[in-house]
Subunit: 351 residues, 2 copies
């Protein structure tokens, strides 16, 4: 019998619109699901100490306060944050992972700065050219992984193949799927359609059997339908698709709200249907899907939505815990080696 290793996460206490409250609320909620996890909380002592004291009973034995005087704001350019943010809560929380004082870091702060700092401090995993941002999205069938959500505005075929591999392992860890299906986002399902790098990536994925369960091209509507478990695309397209989904869902909710208010009968109808409507709201609640993972770095880095609340932050903590528990980064190494071995043998074969 193996003894479960205890997990420590480092948290950026000052990142996010309503930080540090969302972070402390998040820890309190996460404790119920993951009682054994410990936290290093980085931020301004003067701000954090009184807030921690208020939650003394819940948090005292699991949170260690670590003073970091500076804050990276949402308006800081990544390059500026890198130069001037060494003493920020974000940079120090990342450093704790680098120094093996923590198993992973969670931040609701500036995405670009977090990626830039994490890349420099942790470096990419051997064999991975570019890290990618991955997250779960609600679908008709359940949940799917989508990546890249914005780390790379342009990608070549090899980047997309690496994303397919990392997405596969991410889906295994988070969705408990043995052999998740992977689709490349394209503008048609036919082989001749789409961008060259997408077509090339498809060719490579078709040839490297056994590593990625490649299901071919998928289109924008397949994300919501849940046609595949992992949707792979470049960071520009993925970011637009993610935000388009969010926007469409918001607009439809708004239309519904207006409709339910439009007549007395509709208002009564709403009251009767409310428990059912709440289930729909729960099913598509963005807080449930909060926690985007920076895949391909030599350390677990999870980005929470900046505008989330305690429940959302607790879910982001949950993503980091799952990734540590599943030994995500160790698995990437193993699978990359398999993939490279196949590429080499298929090149040899081609000669």
């Amino acid at each position: 019998m193996s003894v479960a290793k205890s997990i420590t996460l480092s948290l950026d206490g000052m990142g996010g619109d309503d930080a540090p409250d969302i972070v402390l609320d998040g820890i309190a909620l996460a404790r119920k699901r993951h009682p054994d996890v410990r936290y290093l909380l980085f931020g301004d002592e003067a701000v954090l100490t009184p807030l921690l004291e208020k939650r003394y009973k819940t948090l005292r034995d699991i949170v260690t306060l670590c003073h970091a005087p500076d804050v990276v704001t949402n308006n800081d350019k990544p390059s500026v944050a890198l130069r001037t943010g060494r003493n920020s809560s974000m940079a120090q929380a990342i450093r704790a992972v680098k120094d093996h004082r923590a198993d992973g870091v969670v931040s609701a702060g500036n995405t670009g700065a977090l990626m830039a700092m994490a890349k420099i401090a942790l470096r990419t995993l051997p064999g991975i050219d570019r890290p990618a941002i991955a997250a779960l999205m609600p679908t008709q069938r359940g949940e799917s992984v989508v990546l890249d959500l914005g780390a790379n505005t342009e990608c070549n075929a090899n980047n997309l193949v690496e994303f397919a591999l990392m997405g596969t392992l991410f889906a295994r860890s988070l969705l408990d799927l043995e052999n998740p299906t992977v689709g490349l986002l394209n503008i048609g399902e036919e082989e001749q359609k789409g961008r060259n790098e997408v077509k090339e990536a498809a060719t490579i994925l078709r040839e490297t059997v056994g590593v990625v369960n490649f299901a071919g091209f998928v289109e924008g509507d397949d994300i919501g339908i849940g046609t595949v478990d992992v949707v792979v695309t470049d960071g520009f397209t993925g970011n637009v698709a993610l935000k388009t989904m969010e926007g469409t869902a918001k607009v439809m909710s708004r239309f519904l709200k207006e409709a339910f208010k439009s007549s007395f009968l509709a208002q009564i109808g709403y009251l009767l249907a409310r428990p059912a409507m709440n289930r729909v709201r729960h099913r598509t609640d963005p807080r449930r899907y909060n926690g985007a993972m920076f895949l391909g770095l030599n350390g677990i880095v999870v980005k929470s939505h900046g505008g989330t609340d305690g429940l959302g932050f607790a879910n982001a903590i949950g993503v980091a815990v799952d990734m540590v528990r599943h030994g995500f980064n160790e698995r990437i190494n193993t699978e990359l080696n398999k993939l490279h071995a196949q590429s080499v043998s298929s090149e040899v074969h081609a000669i």
Copy 2:
């Protein structure tokens, strides 16, 4: 007082999943809104004649049947359709525009083949490098134009600038807006974010004042919110965004339907709220937004969704009628000249 010119449209009678029925139903419905429009209906006489006879009273004085023995199917590659489809209903309907027998063409057939055939037969307008596909989408504020929806998988900055100009004129014609706002789709609103071609296009649009009312970058969720009247992007991203919207709307409707069926009370609630729910359905009905225009060709070409019905096809006919009435292509020439004059003068200024 000017006498309104009578309009003739040529229709591909065989394109679309349920053609030719959707086409004939579409003409019958369009007649109510546009009683003066005449139609050249291209397709197999043996198939169309009996169907026309059934609708003899409604259609006899506005439809002229033109025999075209062949059909371009949805599975035909554009290159194959070009080589072998000369006698197809699609090719002949396009040719009627080229020969000035019709003012515009509407088809619910294969998009790639329609674009390829239209490009070769009609050519692009002088000064336009690449045609783009544009359509209206429902937003919280009303409707917006989005382009390109799939004609160009990759675009440079100049292509995007041309799309911004064509989208402006399209919004003026279809939405009756004097000075529509234009946004470039990007993955952040800050100037330093995004792809190079998008950033370059923004610089050009900021410098050429007066032609395009440029409002800066927008993100995926701005499409649904309706932040700007015209959203400009490359055909890959635009197609993914369009289909992601459609998919999200479908999934949310499905979730709602399941919720309303989940309990007796919810079912009663649904019955009471049904008129209000129907208004939501109407507001987001894809048939209302059917009819994508191929902008930048030397002729009006409108693509109907293949899976639409008569009502949807009638709306596609309406788009073509609007474009002809507004003298869309003549206006593009005038505005392009203004734009080029400005670019030249700003280059001179730079020296």
